[in-house]
Amino acid sequence: MALHEIKKNCKIVNELLMYLMRNSFHQIEMHIDYQTDESVITFIVDECPSEVISQMAENLNKGRRYEFEGYYWELMGESDNTNQLSIIGMLVDGIHFEEKNGRTKMIIHRKHTFLKK
């Protein structure tokens, strides 16, 4: 298992949870599927406005940055009025959204592929 993998996943969840709550989502479902080679984090909220979706998609689909795995990730979840979506974007492989019955499912993938081969 990679270094601090569990802690990084928890930090990502914490930061996203704060981001959603600051955006007035007060009923949030969360699910994490922690597999051997990948973590899949899912948030489900009601009626997510397009601005929130586009901000999350823009930040979390910019591409993984391996040089940030060893540093800066500790900043996630540290500030209560500034979002650090850009750091999450460097640590995850992407996000996609599914809409069903007025509910929005946000699915985030983080592969554990940065281990030395």
């Binding site: 270094l3 795995e69 060893g70 800066y72 850009s86 750091i87 940065f114 030395k116």
Partner: protein
């Protein structure tokens, strides 16, 4: 088109070290350059050891070019893209290669971090940013080797050991300290290394070896260095317009950012606006040099190159100028001479606190710079001069005091 693509991928770093290397060959006889370079490699490197004073201009430029070549080759070999923090790291190395960093005292630190990555079975790319900035504590290695008074047979292995050991423990420590100031000190590794330097200084003292900052400065090459910086700044702006001729419109995206860690301007706004920002910050620094009648020495060009480097990673005129004004006002109102080395260095390196100005406004940024100036005067003897990023050390304390107080008022407003 091929040139544009190459510039996009590598951000002109190779051109910088080729230019400096070529310049070093023409400025002096090769033998003089080699003797000067040997003097640089065997000096203590303690803050402030201006290599222009110790080895001369040609040898100093050779030192800068050789360090850039080694670290850039490593980045290239590992296929790491030159983005904001990587660019900042490379330019910080280039800047401090004028006063404290060389191949002898930085490679043990690199080896230590490499051993850390092997021990934890992680890809070395994961710790590349730490490798670049870890070079700030390199005087620990050279002081132990050449200036501690210990017999060379023992001092050289001891210096290598301390460097490797420090590199090995650095990654978890720097990741931890970034929380202390919530990412508002851009030179976080300087803060972490200041604490380590304090411990090492105390350790040496316990064995009767006194570590104290030195003051070796040369201003003999002012106009040559001014011209080099002018050329670099203009080149960045020209390249920015070569890539995108309407870059100034996208540039406003950068000015909107607070600059708090982690703000990679290349990722957030694009390459051309980031290059324009680097060039503009270079010009801004040169304007300060002219207005305050500053003579460019090793630490001053180091400060300006570091400012330019971090202009891809957090600094822009809007968040940096208030902090610079705060530092200048503090020096003006106290007993310091405005263009003395300690003041000038603080003006440039004090911009580590630019995110405070970017986040809480220029008035707060001004006061952060004001307080920073007094703190940085106290931290240098405190850490003995092992930590070249002394301003980063001081800025960590300033940010740690300012940020929680300011955050609490913001919450009350909400």
């Amino acid at each position: 088109m091929r040139i544009k693509n190459y510039l996009s991928g590598k951000i002109v770093v190779p051109f910088v070290f080729i230019f400096l290397f070529t310049l070093s060959l023409f400025l002096d006889k090769p033998m003089n350059t080699l003797i000067g370079y040997f003097n640089i490699l065997t000096s203590s490197g303690l803050l402030i050891s201006d290599y222009l004073h110790i080895g001369g201009l040609s040898a100093s430029l050779f030192n800068v070019a050789s360090l850039l070549l080694v670290y850039f080759s490593l980045i290239n070999h590992l296929q790491i893209k030159v983005t904001g923090p990587i660019f900042a790291g490379l330019f910080t190395i280039a800047g401090f290669a004028f006063f404290g960093k060389n191949l002898v005292n930085t490679l043990p630190l690199l080896s230590g971090i490499y051993l850390y990555s092997l021990y934890h079975k992680i890809d070395i790319r994961n710790v590349m940013i730490i490798i670049l900035f870890s070079t700030g504590i390199s005087p620990l290695v050279s002081f132990t080797m050449f200036d501690s008074g210990i017999n060379l047979i023992y001092s050289i292995p001891l210096g290598i050991f301390l460097g490797v050991f420090t590199g090995f423990i650095l990654p978890p420590f720097v990741a931890h300290t970034v929380k202390f100031h919530s990412g508002y000190d851009l030179y976080n590794i300087g803060f972490a290394m200041g604490i380590l330097a304090l411990i090492y200084t105390a350790g040496f003292k316990a064995f009767g070896i006194i570590v104290s900052p030195v003051n070796l400065i040369s201003v003999d090459y002012h106009w040559i260095l001014f011209s080099v910086l002018l050329l670099f700044s203009a080149s960045f702006i020209i390249i920015a317009y070569m890539i995108d001729n309407s870059v100034h419109t996208a540039y406003t995206l950068i000015l909107e950012k607070s600059g708090r860690l982690v703000t990679d301007f290349i990722r957030e706004a694009g390459l051309a606006p980031a290059l324009l920002n680097i060039g503009l910050m270079g010009f801004l620094s040169l304007i300060i040099v002219l207005v305050l009648n500053i003579k460019i020495s090793g630490p001053v060009i180091g400060g300006i190159l570091t400012v330019m480097g971090f202009s891809a990673f957090g600094k822009h005129p809007k968040n940096s100028v208030p902090v610079m004004l705060g530092v200048t006002a503090a020096a003006f109102l106290s007993h310091y001479t405005l263009n003395s080395a300690s003041v000038v260095i603080a003006i440039f390196f004090g911009t580590a606190l630019a995110p405070i100005s970017g986040k809480y406004g220029p008035v707060i940024g001004f006061f952060a710079g004001f307080v920073h100036f007094f703190v940085v005067q106290a931290t240098s003897p405190f850490q003995g001069g092992f930590d070249l990023y002394n301003n980063g050390f001081a800025a960590g304390f300033v940010a740690a005091v300012f940020v929680p107080i300011l955050e609490s008022f913001r919450k009350e407003e909400e």
